[in-house]
């Protein structure tokens, strides 16, 4: 029989306001095995922990139950407390009477009753707990950064500067991401290329960084400290090590009609291309969907003119296997598709553009060489209407429920720059709210509205309709003066909501990292662990975690790097001793567990057994590699014979908890 101590925490008023803590400790003191029960204002405080330590020593406790917050919050704390008092840390059980009880109940009687039941379940479990000892596993001192935008670049540079090897996997032919497409950056208006390009070059030249461009993550196995990743390096039909990036092929290729994705399809590129002048790596890529040679076998012009002999039409996708200690997700964002927003006539008029398209139009390397010209007729627009929150803060289901966060600021930037360069242009901005929290942000917006004479109008645009004279009729409401407006605009710019890149969802599945309903990666804790995924060894950088601007992205990228460095600096990690083990007398050797194990921790051996009838039989039985097992428990559920069990969460412990609850 265990000697169990029960410690009920008030958590200030978090628990005590809804749960009668004295009643809980009193009720639990009568449970079998309980030799001591008490309650205290803050169990996690030093005084609270000392109460636990003293009780362990005074009563010779062999197991303790803490009725407090979620084990995710303080299980580690109380395990340390127990260990400090000489008790095996795995003899500690937490009954979550805060998140799962006090916070969700209003009625004290109900909450108290439930808290007592949760306490009883934990006591029933601790009766069956056994001391566990953690093992150590080595750390592979190399990090993988998925995504080569500003987030990935900054994270990689920071990790590499600390002396660790970093690989960047970028799915497009160059790193740089969305920032490379921007013109100026708010609130200081420095040119995006001027501040990004040197960082891209730093990455390329850093001896600790390897770039896998035009590559994607194909599969991920393993666990924190020991990930095994398969990277698919897509065939670019150009030998990267030989191509000098001279660009001659990109000028001579006869296939001229390929939509240029870097300029969002507003101009054309060739079938062999370098996305932009400052691309890293600066090597050409053949677009297999358009290349005549690859499609029909005829042409081969690029091969003939390439003096470096870099063209290789026979190139195949390559699969690269690499081991990593940590993985950083920096998969970024995309503007949403505007199919659900037909009222803005985006598909009907080329003069209705997204903000990112407008960014390209104003960029010196863009389709109009930086001249603000209407896409339809190449004329200078005199009236421009900016529409905010297109698909953001949308609860109708057409768009996204969240605020895309960057639109207010970049629209202020667009409006201001337009007025600065073309003072003869009337600029209207329609908004729900202008949100400008951030250093020097509100000043920036006020400058746009007050100094540059941008017409900010509170209200939404209801309809944009192309007119016969080429103008766009913008119908909107001004909520402050309470009137309907009709504006004849030359151009309409839609501040389109941003969403996580589509590659993020399948990647999250591979990484077993969780996502929210909008496909943003979730953090281990929204406030206290904002750059870590709940999955150990997976870190988050940039907009894959939530909408953010460049300054915020860069700070978060650095934070993620610091977490990675902290992990890679360790030689070994303390493994979780709550791992699976197989009762070989019950194992059928059917391989069900092996098939569901996400970590490849289960193997099989043929073993001799003495059978009840005194014969010897050879049986195939499962063996768990405890260093590899992460204790997810999938095998225990898959096992048809019940041979597989999880230490610390055994089937009998869980059944005991259920029994205690149902009693």
């Amino acid at each position: 029989m265990q000697k169990i101590g029960v410690f009920v925490c008030w958590c200030g008023s978090n628990i005590a306001a809804t749960v009668d803590v004295s009643a809980v400790s009193e009720a639990l003191s009568h449970e079998p095995g309980v030799v001591y029960a008490t309650n205290y204002q803050y169990m996690c405080s030093e005084a609270g922990q000392n109460t636990i330590k003293d009780a362990i020593k005074k009563y010779g406790l062999t197991g303790i139950v803490i009725c407090s917050c979620s084990p995710r919050m303080h299980e580690a704390t109380f395990r340390k407390t127990a260990a400090a008092a000489g008790l095996n840390p795995y003899m500690v059980e937490i009954a979550n009477i805060r998140e799962q009880c006090s916070w969700i109940h209003k009625d004290m009687a109900t909450a108290t009753e439930k808290a007592i039941i949760l306490g009883k379940a934990a006591i029933a479990k601790v009766h069956l707990n056994a001391p566990l000892t953690a093992s150590q596993s080595p750390v592979v001192k190399r990090a993988l950064v998925i995504g080569g935008g500003i987030a990935g670049i900054q994270t990689a540079l920071d990790i590499a500067d600390a002396g660790f090897e970093v690989d960047i996997v970028e799915k497009s032919p160059t790193i740089g991401g969305k920032m490379s497409q921007l013109d100026k950056t708010f609130p200081t208006l420095d040119c995006a290329a001027c501040i990004l390009t040197p960082k891209m070059v730093d990455v390329a030249q850093h001896e600790k960084i390897k770039i896998y461009s035009y590559s994607e993550v194909e599969a991920v196995k393993g666990f924190v400290g020991n990930f095994e990743v398969t990277i698919r390096k897509k065939a670019r039909y150009v030998n990267e090590n030989v191509c000098t990036g001279c660009g001659l092929c990109t000028e001579k290729c006869p296939q001229k009609n390929v939509p240029n994705e870097f300029n969002l399809g507003m101009d054309k590129r060739r079938a062999i291309y370098i996305p932009f002048a400052q691309a890293v790596p600066k090597v050409a890529t053949i677009d297999a969907n358009y290349c005549m040679k690859l499609k029909t076998g005829k042409c081969g012009l690029c091969e003939k003119i390439c003096t470096a002999g870099a063209i290789d039409y026979s190139q195949k996708d390559q699969l690269i296997e690499q081991k990593y200690g940590a993985i950083v997700v920096a998969t970024g964002f995309n503007p949403i598709k505007l199919d659900n927003f037909e009222e803005y006539s985006y598909s009907q008029s080329p003069d209705v553009v997204t903000s990112l398209e407008f960014e390209r139009i104003t960029n010196a390397a863009g389709p109009t060489s930086g001249q603000l010209l209407r896409p339809s007729d190449g004329k200078h627009p005199h009236t421009i209407v900016f529409v905010q929150c297109v698909g953001s803060r949308d609860t109708s289901g057409c768009g996204k429920p969240y605020c895309s966060k960057i639109c207010c600021m970049y629209t202020a930037k667009h409006a201001m720059l337009t007025r600065e360069k073309y003072p003869d242009t009337d600029v209207y901005v329609f908004y729900i709210d202008v949100r400008t929290p951030g250093k020097n942000f509100d000043e920036f917006y006020r400058r746009a509205a007050e100094e540059y004479g941008v017409h900010y109008i509170k209200g939404m645009v209801g309809k944009v309709a192309p007119k016969a004279d080429g103008k766009l009729m913008v119908q909107a409401s001004d909520l402050i003066s309470n009137e309907q407006l009709h504006i004849d605009a030359d151009m309409v710019v839609l501040a389109t909501a941003i969403e996580p890149d589509k590659s993020a969802r399948p990647l999250a599945t591979m990484l077993t990292a969780s996502m929210d309903t909008n496909d943003f990666f979730t953090e281990a804790h929204p406030k206290l662990r904002p750059v870590e995924s709940p999955t150990a060894g997976i870190f988050l950088s940039g907009t894959c975690q939530g909408p953010k601007d460049i300054p915020e992205t860069v700070s978060q990228a650095g934070a993620a790097a610091a977490k990675v460095i902290g992990l890679l600096a360790k030689d070994t990690l303390t493994a979780n001793p709550c791992v699976a083990h197989s009762d070989e007398m019950m194992c059928n050797g059917c391989s069900s567990c092996e098939k569901v194990c996400p970590y490849g921790a289960i193997t099989y051996v043929d073993k001799e057994f003495r059978m009840p009838d005194r014969t010897v039989a050879i049986r195939r039985v499962a063996v768990v590699n405890e260093a590899v097992c992460q204790g997810c428990g999938a095998c225990t559920v898959a096992c048809p014979s019940g041979a597989m069990d999880l230490k610390g969460f055994s089937n009998s412990q869980i059944m005991a908890e259920v029994d205690a609850i149902c009693k």
């Binding site: 391989s591 069900s592 048809p640 014979s641 059944m655």
Partner: protein, 324 residues
């Protein structure tokens, strides 16, 4: 067919391919068939039988038999080959200790059908076109096959042998069976009706364990119902509902692995339609994860042992709750 099979068995025994034969022999009565191991040609001549009563699925016996010295010859009807394959997939049978001979099957007799027709004192059987001629102590009876065949044979899912070393006769095809019709009827019931239906069926259970003992999927080294550590072995049921849980637990345990061989219902002395529980699982698996036939091959991942992003969400149970 019995003669051809016996010749084949003797040939393989004599040329040393196998050292024993797993087949069928008569029990006390001609219709009382029992699986048997024959060690030599004399035993084959004396007792080997194969007729319309030989319904037993021999696959499960190979778990033990294949672990013995030498090779064992086994005769497998099409549906038995699925069980054999499934057990191979689960590494329960040592394949290189087995010589599998596929045999054709036109369906086996359900003795209860004969009983219902008041046919007694059976001493022999013959097939004549679409009829069986049953010889009895009291004269011959002619009975249409569809009135005498077991339900699982009338709704046969496949005449194809999915695995064999040698085939006697021609292989058949996977059939378009109506085996899920009854499941659909039960699904269409209200929860209360369904509960009442199963309570009625299960109330007859005498916990003889015949269904478990005959089931090829129920072949754990140590069954949970026999394991003292499980907390449920040899436990007196608290009430009649707890008693009923036995079959539901068993159906869960074989879900995704049951080939729908139908042996459970065949051996049930109380005629509980146990196969319907398994078919409900098979039907759900087919609908949720795409058509899957356990035992069809040895390589594919069973739907319950794999996760795809296209898998149904757990909320499907609310949508498929039947009529409320």
């Amino acid at each position: 067919m019995q003669r051809i099979m016996a010749e084949k068995a003797k040939e393989l025994l004599q040329n040393g391919t196998v050292n024993r034969v797993l087949g069928w022999k008569k029990g006390e009565f001609v219709y009382d068939i029992t699986p048997a191991v024959f060690n030599n040609t004399e035993e084959i001549d004396a007792e080997f039988v194969y007729d319309d009563f030989c319904a037993n699925n021999l696959s499960k016996y190979l778990i033990k038999e294949s672990r013995k010295e030498g090779k064992v010859l086994v005769f497998l009807k099409p549906c038995d080959t699925y069980s054999f394959n499934q057990l191979l997939k689960e590494h329960r049978i040592w394949r290189d200790h087995v010589y599998a001979v596929g045999i054709p099957c036109d369906g086996k007799i359900d003795l209860d059908c004969l009983k219902k027709q008041d046919i007694q004192g059976i001493v022999g059987i013959e097939t004549q076109n679409d009829n069986f001629i049953i010889h009895t102590l009291y004269g011959d009876h002619t009975i249409a096959k569809e009135d005498a065949l077991a339900e699982r044979c009338l709704n046969c899912k496949s005449k194809k042998h999915v695995i064999y070393d040698e085939l006697i006769g021609r292989d058949g095809e996977v059939l378009d069976s109506h085996r899920f019709d009854m499941v659909e009827k039960i699904e269409a019931m209200t929860p209360d009706e369904r509960f009442a239906f199963w309570r009625g069926e299960f109330s007859r259970c005498i916990r003889c364990n015949a269904c478990r003992n005959v089931c090829p999927a129920c072949s754990c080294e140590n069954c949970v119902f026999d394991n003292p550590k499980s907390g449920i072995a040899n436990k007196a049921a608290a009430d009649s509902f707890e008693e009923n849980m036995f079959h539901i637990i068993r159906a869960f345990h074989v879900a995704g692995r049951c080939t729908d061989c139908g042996e459970c219902s065949r051996v049930c002395p109380q005629n509980i339609p146990l196969h319907l529980l398994n078919r409900k699982f098979i039907k759900d698996i087919n609908e949720f994860y795409g058509t899957y036939q356990a035992g069809e091959d040895t390589e594919s991942r069973a739907p319950l042992n794999i996760y795809n992003t296209e898998d149904v969400e757990p909320s499907i149970v609310y949508k498929k709750g039947g009529n409320h």
